[in-house]
């Protein structure tokens, strides 16, 4: 019996609401909702001016929780803080020090991290509009609103927080109707969170790809894919005299500053829409259908979002690459194949114990060839990005008129472990020019095209063909530049009040 139908992931249970052990009222709404009805959004990046006033505002500001609201509120507000922000607010150094090392270091904190994340050349943090040096934000206020409701809300919030904070940057957003600036449907592939805690908290081999992720992959204080609790600040109860914080599930008696919180990664990605379409037009020698085909090969989806690995798929997120191991239908290096390879813990094969043992010991040569990519379930991201700038049409892009337009994506994602999730995906799967046995190419959309470590080129793109050598594009230009970024902590609401009281 075959283990997995070749092109379908394991069927997951129907999305469930939060289990009784999950306090949705303590979780910021962004973890559960994309706020898609709230098509208007602005992100305020703040620096502490007066710690006492800043704390006073944070102690009382209404934060939208993950509880279902019917009807949806006119607006939603979320709060996230950086490690510099925690220090600036006066949180004890030992408490701050118990957060993850990546969060403490910050996204632009050291050259080795910039190297790992590919933030070099024009994306070097020293050129960033915000996020580096004196321009590291302390706090982010994420404001979402129904159409027409944002402006008044923003003015009110900016006035309220002015005593405690100065405004470092106001990141505006644009509703591009579910498309990112290059014109592709965005946000289709998302992990489904196990709100119902149906996955047992144990460490077991998963033989099929599943889109259902343990809650602990995105929320601290819950078991992750290893059945473990990700490290986070746990406090002696005496540090939490008011009993503001939830208790740590695995350490009886300890107050849990992390529980119901998540790490929020924000990166401002400036997209050269004109450069993208003009380059593809050159590769296609002006043939519109070919241009479209090449663009879809780079992304792994057509512009409306159909996965090219399975043009017959009826649901856009319900497939794997099991039937296309060589990348003939969808190139191995396509953007969505790199960022979500949809594989399981062991290359698929017969389900007998002996066959599995042979694969586990590495003696199955064919399986080894399909075993070059790390198991996907440990590297999922919950994306919450929003587009910004003025949308550029295809005609405008091809005309080159929009070359100077500042348009792009405020990439945002949530995860419980920046190192294993965001940084791994960015380093090994996006920047890595040896992903899945490929060479001389990095992510076709996000790559910085700089020669990689050891002087290896990264500006190619290969499209395997069923007959003969792979078709290769060379000298692919850089389409995306990082213009800002930071690691935030998106605390549980009780944790936010605790931090504001510290």
């Amino acid at each position: 019996m075959a283990e997995a139908p070749m092109n379908a992931p394991a069927p997951g249970p129907k999305p469930a609401g939060p289990a009784s052990g999950v306090d949705a009222g303590d979780i910021q709404g962004l973890v559960r909702f994309g706020f898609k009805h709230h098509t208007e959004a602005v992100f305020l990046l703040l620096r502490v001016r007066d710690a006492a006033a800043a704390r006073a505002w944070l102690a009382g500001v209404p934060v939208t929780s993950a509880v279902d609201a019917n009807p949806v509120p006119d607006s939603a507000l979320q709060i996230a803080v950086t490690s510099e922000g925690l220090h600036a607010l006066g949180v004890s150094a030992d408490i701050v020090g118990a957060f993850s090392q990546e969060f403490l270091d910050g996204m632009a904190g050291d050259p080795s991290r910039a190297r790992r994340l590919g933030d070099e050349g024009p994306s070097d943090p020293k050129y960033w509009i915000w996020g580096s040096g004196e321009r590291v934000p302390h706090c982010a206020v994420l404001l979402y609103a129904l159409p027409g409701c944002l402006e008044a809300r923003r003015l009110a919030i900016e006035a309220q927080c002015a005593a405690g904070f100065e405004l470092l940057e106001r990141l505006g957003t644009t509703d591009m109707g579910g498309k990112e600036p290059f014109g592709f449907a965005d946000g289709i592939s998302q992990p489904q969170l196990d709100w119902g805690l149906t996955r047992p908290a144990s460490d077991r081999m998963q033989y099929q790809y599943t889109n259902l992720s343990c809650l602990g992959e995105f929320l601290l204080g819950y078991p992750n894919e290893y059945g473990l609790y990700t490290p986070r600040p746990l406090l002696e109860p005496s540090r939490d005299a008011g009993g503001l914080l939830p208790r740590a599930p695995e350490v009886p008696g300890c107050s849990d500053l992390g529980r119901n919180g998540s790490y929020l990664v924000v990166r401002q990605l400036r997209q050269d829409v004109s450069g993208f379409w003009r380059a593809l037009d050159r590769y296609a020698a002006g043939d519109a259908a070919e241009r479209e085909r090449l663009a879809a090969a780079m992304v792994g989806r057509t512009r409306p979002g159909q996965p090219i690995v399975d043009p017959s798929a009826t649901t856009l997120n319900d497939f794997t690459y099991g039937a296309d191991p060589d990348g003939v239908r969808c190139p191995l290096g396509a953007h969505i194949r790199r960022t979500n390879p949809r594989n399981a813990d062991l290359p698929d094969g017969p389900s007998g114990i002996l066959s599995r043992l042979i694969r586990i010991l590495g003696f199955d040569a064919a399986a080894r060839g399909r075993d070059l990519v790390s198991s996907t379930r440990y590297h999922r991201l919950l994306r919450r990005g929003r587009e910004y700038g003025t949308a550029v049409s295809l005609d405008q892009a091809l005309g080159g008129a929009a070359a100077a337009t500042d348009v792009g994506l405020h990439f945002m994602c949530l995860n419980a472990n920046n190192q294993r999730q965001f940084e791994f995906v960015q380093n090994a799967w996006i920047v890595g020019n040896r992903f899945n046995g490929l060479h001389d190419e990095s992510d076709p959309l996000l790559g910085n095209r700089r020669a990689g470590p050891g002087g290896t080129p990264s500006d190619g793109f290969s499209m395997p063909q069923s007959g003969g050598p792979a078709r290769r594009l060379s000298a692919v230009p850089q389409f995306v530049t990082v213009a800002g970024g930071a690691y935030f902590f998106l605390p549980g609401i009780r944790a936010l009040r605790f931090l504001a009281s510290a």
Partner: protein, 432 residues
């Protein structure tokens, strides 16, 4: 075929000599973490049989951990380690290194406590070349010369090949014939060379066969005894596993930064780690048996591109030092550190646990193979805390991963294949 070998020259550092030694070693680097292949001291790039080499200071801040096991912390020195992986006998490689870099090596080893300034350098180094408890070579027989020649071949063919779709078997054959002719011309013009493999040394083959026979005989003799005592062993194992302290505090931020600064400067990275062996006869015996089993399987089974599911390790070795009180593990691997550790956790946790759970502080295991490194962050903290900065690191073929090496080798095999089928020709063209 030319088999690979390694040298592990380890000597105690003289009192108060460490800062000066660090400074001296740093002069060999192009940037911190990568040696300049043409540096004035030890010009690694000139040794055409040398795959990887490193200098590392073995200064172990975790020595005190053993006190958690009720054992007094022994007084152990800091060492300088000079390691290399070579084609052919390591002695020949050392002779060559001493011949060309003798004065510089003397200058380096002068910082060691027992170095004899007037003595014979080679003899001193050979005397300090420690036996290796277990040694892994990704592909036994693949030489540096071969790797470099095949890289040039791959580049030439990839640039030359016609990438339009192939319509028939005959067309594929035609394309291959043209490429074969092209390679012939390039070789004739001296732009490419494809040195035929050397004959496998008879002594090496005999030693390997003898070792295999001895291993089988010993296993057959020991098996009944092992089966007989296995219940006792398992009881003892579980007793120790329940009781052995787990020591996995978060590594120091400064150490982490120092290590990361040395990483991701090539598609491959280096790893050097040191830890104490658990005290007591049971763990000592278990470690000995396990390392012997690993050495045996690396010699006879895992010689062709993979160590169980892990396909990203070029060379690795375990070396006992201080009369088996401590074990050093070093490796050269492809990809980033995070990916390397995830490979270990997700693909080979059982193998890691079998050996490393005999080390002080390893995350709790059960039945020798479960838990342990699957306890993700405990393991990640543990391994980073035991890792030591590698002051000087050399790789003979920057920019190439094992996947590249094996693809390039297959390209050459396909080029030299006598009567390939249509399918084989097509598969070969795809490699380009």
């Amino acid at each position: 075929m030319t088999p690979q070998s390694q040298f592990t020259v380890v000597a105690p550092i003289g009192k108060d000599r460490e800062p000066a030694l660090r400074q001296l070693l740093a002069t060999m680097n192009k940037v911190p973490g990568v040696a300049d292949p043409n540096n004035a001291s030890v010009p690694f790039g000139e040794f055409e049989n040398l795959h990887f080499a490193r200098f590392a200071l073995l200064d172990d801040p975790t020595q005190g951990d053993i006190e958690a096991y009720g054992v007094r912390r022994p007084e152990l020195p800091s060492y300088l380690a000079f390691l290399g992986d070579c084609d052919g006998p390591s002695r020949e490689c050392l002779v060559e290194i001493v011949r060309r870099a003798g004065p510089a090596l003397r200058e380096i080893f002068r910082h060691c406590a027992d170095f004899e300034a007037d003595g014979d350098l080679l003899s001193w180094m050979m005397a300090h070349d420690l036996p290796v408890a277990a040694n892994y070579v990704n592909w036994v027989g693949r030489t540096v010369v071969q790797i470099k020649e095949e890289r040039a071949l791959q580049r030439a063919l990839a640039a030359k090949v016609d990438r339009s779709a192939v319509t028939s078997g005959a067309a594929a054959r035609q394309r291959r014939s043209e490429l074969i002719a092209f390679v012939r011309e390039e070789i004739a013009a001296g732009r490419l060379s494809l040195t035929p493999p050397s004959a496998t040394p008879l002594g090496w083959r005999l030693a390997k066969m003898t070792n295999l026979a001895a291993g089988v005989v010993i296993t057959l003799i020991a098996l009944p005894v092992l089966l007989l005592i296995s219940p006792l062993v398992l009881v003892a194992l579980r007793f120790h596993e329940d009781r052995d302290p787990e020591i996995c505090p978060r590594p120091d931020a400064a150490l982490l930064r120092e290590l990361q600064n040395l990483e991701d400067l090539d598609v491959s990275n280096q790893y050097t780690a040191l830890g104490s062996a658990k005290p007591g006869a049971f763990r000592g015996a278990l470690m000995t048996v396990v390392l012997a089993a690993i050495q045996f399987s690396c010699r006879h089974v895992f010689t062709r591109g993979f160590l169980a599911r892990v396909q990203s390790i070029h060379f690795a070795r375990w070396v006992s030092i201080d009369d088996r009180q401590r074990v050093m593990f070093v490796s050269n691997y492809d990809g980033g550190h995070q990916a390397y550790m995830d490979d270990f956790i997700n693909k080979a946790a059982f193998g890691l646990n079998v050996v490393f759970s005999n080390g002080v502080g390893w995350p709790h295991t059960e039945w020798l193979i479960t838990k342990g490194s699957r306890r993700e962050h405990y393991f990640k903290y543990f391994q980073r805390r035991h890792q030591l900065p590698t002051q000087v690191w050399y790789k003979a073929y920057p920019g190439l991963t094992l996947i590249d090496l094996s693809r390039n080798a297959r390209i050459r095999e396909g080029l030299e294949m006598a009567n390939p089928s249509d399918a084989e020709v097509l598969a070969w063209l795809k490699l380009l």
